[in-house]
Symmetry: C2
Subunit: 292 residues, 2 copies
């Protein structure tokens, strides 16, 4: 299968799975489901679930079995975007080319829809058709990578760094937590579901860390180079928010070089796995050499 | 042991456990831990963890073994209070007799500290020293009772009902979701940890539902009758927010009668359990006949 077709197929499967997991239905709390669906469906690169599925498939897993777990990752990612866009956080009015949830609905609904998606992700994992030991490992991986020593820790450091100068080391720490941790968890999800060996898991973690780093650098680059209609955010919200980024700290060209170096390290990690890792290789290329 | 002494001991054990689970430490995301600790420690009735522990003890469990799981319940309760107090939600400036988290820190930190406590609760459950099957059951119970068909669903209905008249049936549904579900989950926690029979679990759920209902009615009563220094909230925030409550819908006296009726039903449910349920009996008395 061609990579473009692979991505199209998986994105569609993930979309369908998300649509089923949080269906439109007539309940007294319908507005909560509508708000969650507004942010969750019909957009996004689906990078995290696709990495989870691709890792699972690399080790011989059947994609259908891992869809719900992969969807849980997308829910956590989406909740973090919803809360991150709030006026008291990054104050972004647009997301994925349409008004942010708190603009389309209201702030209270946005807070609660985020809380709901986070809660739902754990409910989904607890109810998977996998052995309990695997479910516990997934829940442990997701919670640890999206908590204080992961995504939320990164968010609070990011918030604290606004409007003041930070050095490259601190920036890397922020992004390793804020973005890298969940990307790493996604690859770990595929590894846990496929019950890979501990050596393979270690190599996959190294792969995930470097892809996550490269991905974030590219995000910073696109924040200044991509037009709004493609990137779905107003141009350089980082600049408006006076944020230090890889571009402001290193300059555009040096940032591009660092992204490519991290991508090369990610690919080196794949070589340690005695499997055909072509799919993960290609995905890392796309994640880093993207235009949006 | 006298009940007052029991409550004092358990509260202290829970406080110590919470303090250990989210310790003060020098990390780059320290402000997140400080914010969480501000809201989590040194206050609150600890009703939910105490109900979990008391249920566990009723079936012969050793309290020390269930402390971390009980603490996870308190974290979910605290996160819900933090988010509920935000300006875009109930806009409460005080909680437990001191400034709300978003007033003491800032709104962004309050959103993230809430997210963190919710995430942490699942991390704690996934890492308990219990068999995987029990951990999965706890996580499933907590997530389902605190999600769309539980606490968050109740919050969004509550938000949507502000400023407009609702009937008693709708009010009961809101509170069954918003408050009742997590109280019920707390009692379920004790039942799951103690591996009770399905008949016993059913009776405990009935107990939990009715205690939860009675507790909320009393909350509405105290919102108009308790002074700020005891209740820790400014007087009648419900009135300021134009909320329908059991008191506004039924009047104070009728509301008191309904609380006692629910308490009686809770006690009836306990009679179905062939055990000494005196502790749960006494706790339900205290939860409903409290002055704060």
């Amino acid at each position: 299968m061609q990579l473009a077709q692979y991505l199209k197929n998986r994105s569609q499967q993930i979309e369908e799975c998300l649509d089923q997991l949080i269906p439109e239905k007539k309940v007294p709390y319908q507005i909560l489901l509508n708000a969650a669906r507004y942010s969750l469906l019909g957009g996004g690169k689906r990078l995290r679930p696709i990495f989870a599925l691709a890792t699972f498939e690399t080790f011989g897993g059947e994609v259908e079995k891992a869809l719900a777990a992969a969807a849980a990752l997308e829910m956590v990612h989406t909740y973090s975007l919803i809360h991150d866009d709030l006026p008291c956080m990054d104050d972004d009015d647009f997301r994925r080319g349409k008004p942010s949830l708190h603009k389309a609905f209201n702030e209270g609904s946005a807070v609660l829809a985020g809380d709901f998606l986070l809660t739902k992700s754990f409910e989904i994992l607890a109810n998977l058709s996998f052995p309990d030991a695997i479910k516990v490992e997934l829940i442990s991986a997701l919670s640890s990578h999206s908590g204080d020593h992961g995504m939320i820790g990164g968010q609070i450091m990011d918030l604290a760094a606004e409007g003041r100068e930070i050095d490259l080391k601190h920036l890397q720490l922020i992004h390793q937590f804020k973005t890298g941790a969940l990307i790493k968890a996604s690859i770990l999800f595929g590894a846990i579901l496929a019950e890979v060996s501990s050596d393979e898991k270690k190599a996959l973690e190294e792969f995930g860390e470097n892809v996550g780093l490269a991905f974030q650098i590219v995000d910073d680059i696109l924040d200044v180079t991509a037009p709004q209609d493609k990137h779905g955010k107003k141009i350089s919200s980082d600049k408006i928010n006076q944020k230090s980024t890889y571009v402001t700290l290193l300059g555009l060209e040096h940032a591009k070089i660092l992204a490519q170096e991290s991508l090369a390290k990610a690919k080196d990690a794949l070589k340690k796995i005695p499997r055909d890792t072509g799919l993960l290789f290609e995905l890392s290329n796309i994640a880093v050499n993207r235009q949006i």
